[in-house]
Symmetry: C2
Subunit: 404 residues, 2 copies
């Protein structure tokens, strides 16, 4: 008699974004005349940049001819893409990463979930609170946690790193030593980040205690201030303790096109075993590459024109971020993030809970945010807004909020 993976039963039922979706749908049906502005989910709205579109059309034409048709891709991705990644994302930052340390994938969400495959289920993980739910949920599924405690909103056996107003949303070294540490800077959901000097301390800490850092740099294109690392490999020693996850979703609008990559330096080892080799085996066995046409689209992101056009898109969203940040401050609210990230972390007024404020905003302003408590107990009393809307909608949402 077969048995299921019981760890799945520990997961909490209603996924945050499903519950948000249901509430919006219900409100919308009851008030069909109201125009709802969604600043909740982190999906982009600008179309793909012209150089990316040209590359896609060109690659599609190649797939139409016998001589240029491409079948199975190389396991780690095409060299043309990995070379461009290496040059622009690493060498340009002074980080010596080789192309066989880069693994192209269908996106950072897959990689951040699948990366757990190569680690023992005995490892103790550390995550920030609040946190992007995928890090935590995939570890619950893999059996690296205990059960969920509704009274604390936390799973047993996990080291939580609170990121609160009091500590400036900067995680502190925990009392209990973890084995695997998930970090994401610029951060989703708080929109905050840490200077390179602080990140260096995490690298030093990981090396000291023998932990591995899984570093999610999906939002690096949004960094505007100096002194912030674009990649963890700007930090000394990171090549011996860190895996980096990268995405084309937010810097080039690939949320529906799907492309990402993971870096595992060859110097990152456990005993004598290379994690690069383990991941190569995992990907070679359980994945068959990102589509050729999409890898060509990714290459175009790194062309001169591609870099210029995608930078304009990022700047478009950052104008929204500034507009929201300043607008909310003008209206007397407390808001964090939005300086080096497309996310804003809005403190609820009058000690309202996240969900109370969510309802209030939906009903009174017809604006949708994401309740901070959905990202963890320390997200309570916050709401996440995203900068991925249009200028027009963002401006309109702010006018409504100010009129509350």
């Amino acid at each position: 008699m077969f048995r299921i993976n019981d760890n799945y039963l520990k997961l909490q039922g209603s996924y945050l974004f499903s519950r948000v979706g249901e509430k919006v749908r219900a409100y919308s049906e009851a008030h069909p005349d109201r125009e709802i502005i969604r600043l909740g989910i982190g999906d982009v709205t600008l179309p793909l940049a012209a150089p990316v579109i040209s590359a896609l059309h060109g690659a599609v034409d190649e797939m139409a001819c016998r001589d240029t048709f491409r079948g199975y891709a190389p396991d780690r991705g095409y060299e043309f893409l990995r070379s461009a990644i290496r040059k622009h994302d690493f060498l340009a930052r002074g980080a010596e990463i080789c192309i066989d340390e880069i693994f192209v994938s269908d996106g950072a969400k897959s990689d951040s979930g699948n990366i757990g495959d190569i680690f023992s289920e005995q490892n103790r993980i550390a995550v920030c609170d609040p946190v992007y739910p995928v890090y935590l949920d995939t570890n619950v599924m893999a059996g690296r946690t205990g059960v969920y405690d509704p009274s604390t909103g936390r799973y047993g056996g996990v080291v939580y790193l609170p990121c609160t107003e009091e500590n400036g949303f900067v995680p502190q070294f925990p009392e209990e030593e973890p084995d695997i540490i998930y970090l994401c800077f610029p951060n989703n959901p708080t929109g905050m980040t840490i200077p390179k000097s602080e990140l260096q301390k995490w690298v030093d800490y990981a090396l000291r205690i023998g932990a591995v850092i899984i570093y999610d740099a999906a939002y690096e294109a949004y960094i505007r201030e100096d002194g912030i690392a674009r990649t963890i490999y700007e930090c000394d020693g990171a090549e011996r303790c860190a895996i980096e996850l990268r995405s084309f979703s937010k810097n080039a609008g690939f949320t529906g096109t799907r492309l990402g990559y993971t870096v595992i330096p060859k110097r990152l080892k456990c005993g004598g075993v290379s994690l690069n080799a383990l991941w190569a085996r995992r990907q070679g066995t359980k994945f068959n590459g990102a589509p050729y046409i999409v890898q060509r689209a990714g290459e175009a992101v790194y062309s001169e024109q591609g870099r210029a056009k995608t930078a304009e898109q990022v700047e478009y969203y950052m104008q929204n971020a500034r507009m929201i940040r300043e607008g909310l401050k003008d209206a007397g609210y407390t808001v964090y993030g939005g300086v080096n990230a497309p996310y804003l972390w809005w403190k609820t007024p009058d000690s309202m809970t996240s969900w109370e404020f969510f309802d209030h905003l939906l009903e009174k302003a017809n604006v949708v945010g994401t309740p901070g408590s959905g990202f963890g107990p320390c997200g309570e009393h916050f709401l996440r807004l995203t900068a991925f809307g249009s200028h027009e909608n963002t401006r309109k949402a702010l006018e409504r909020i100010k009129a509350l």
Copy 2:
């Protein structure tokens, strides 16, 4: 101190196709004047069909405009694609599958590896011998096997189902009852299949012992004879015990375009828990959908023109299969498969081992096959040839083989 997943260390080092590749490279370097014909790896060679190319260009244009741009896809895939799948692959075969039982993915290799996530690591698996290595290796990685025994070529704790010349390459019910049974028909690597009446017996067996069948139907488009199920859901009761994996790689040439899907009927349960819900949670958490443009390409495969053009491609490959089958028989060899599958299972002459015959063929005829022993001990004394080359190369390869 973090720890790796030690199960990876049980895996056997050299992946079959890497070793084949190395041998071919070495020969090629030593003999740069020889033209080598590759009939080894199962990659297609015909370009994408015109209706698929048109759909891709159309979808790329949609991604270029704000009003038609698509971000994150629905978790289970776009309804336009799942509706077409349901109609043509299931309803047309008398199988009542709903669209929310269909999960679109980036390919059957990913799904056949990832599906293990939802099962307990305590389950005992059964695989055919010889077998597509992914089923076995992913279970080794997940800790569902013991160690590898070099003297038998087998992992401990696995129920092997020998498929040999003696039993007509049809797996027999094992003495020891498994929990999860992997079946692939038409079969890779043997190219053989079983009638629907035999498949029904496996469904009945699984229902009787409480096992789940993971059914890989990647090659169903190659079925030419009557009485063979195109989907396991043609069998009575399969919706209570079977998961089906499907691919666009071999019926429409998507090996480098990446698209597949998995069917998990809602009636398939373990205790009261729906496997459909578990997989939905797995995919919703660890996957972000296949690219929009690729899903549109998949839809085009089901259009009237798409079905006609991709059927022509399959027929092109099947002409190769017939050519190889008849050519080898004329030359006095024993060969199986190639009637309902793009694979031929060629018995080595003079009791040569698979690798001896591989070397012989590479050196004397400059033709590359895949050693059967690489698919399992029962594959010893066989070589797999594929029908995915061009008519010209296939003909030329046969002439060289006949001249041996």
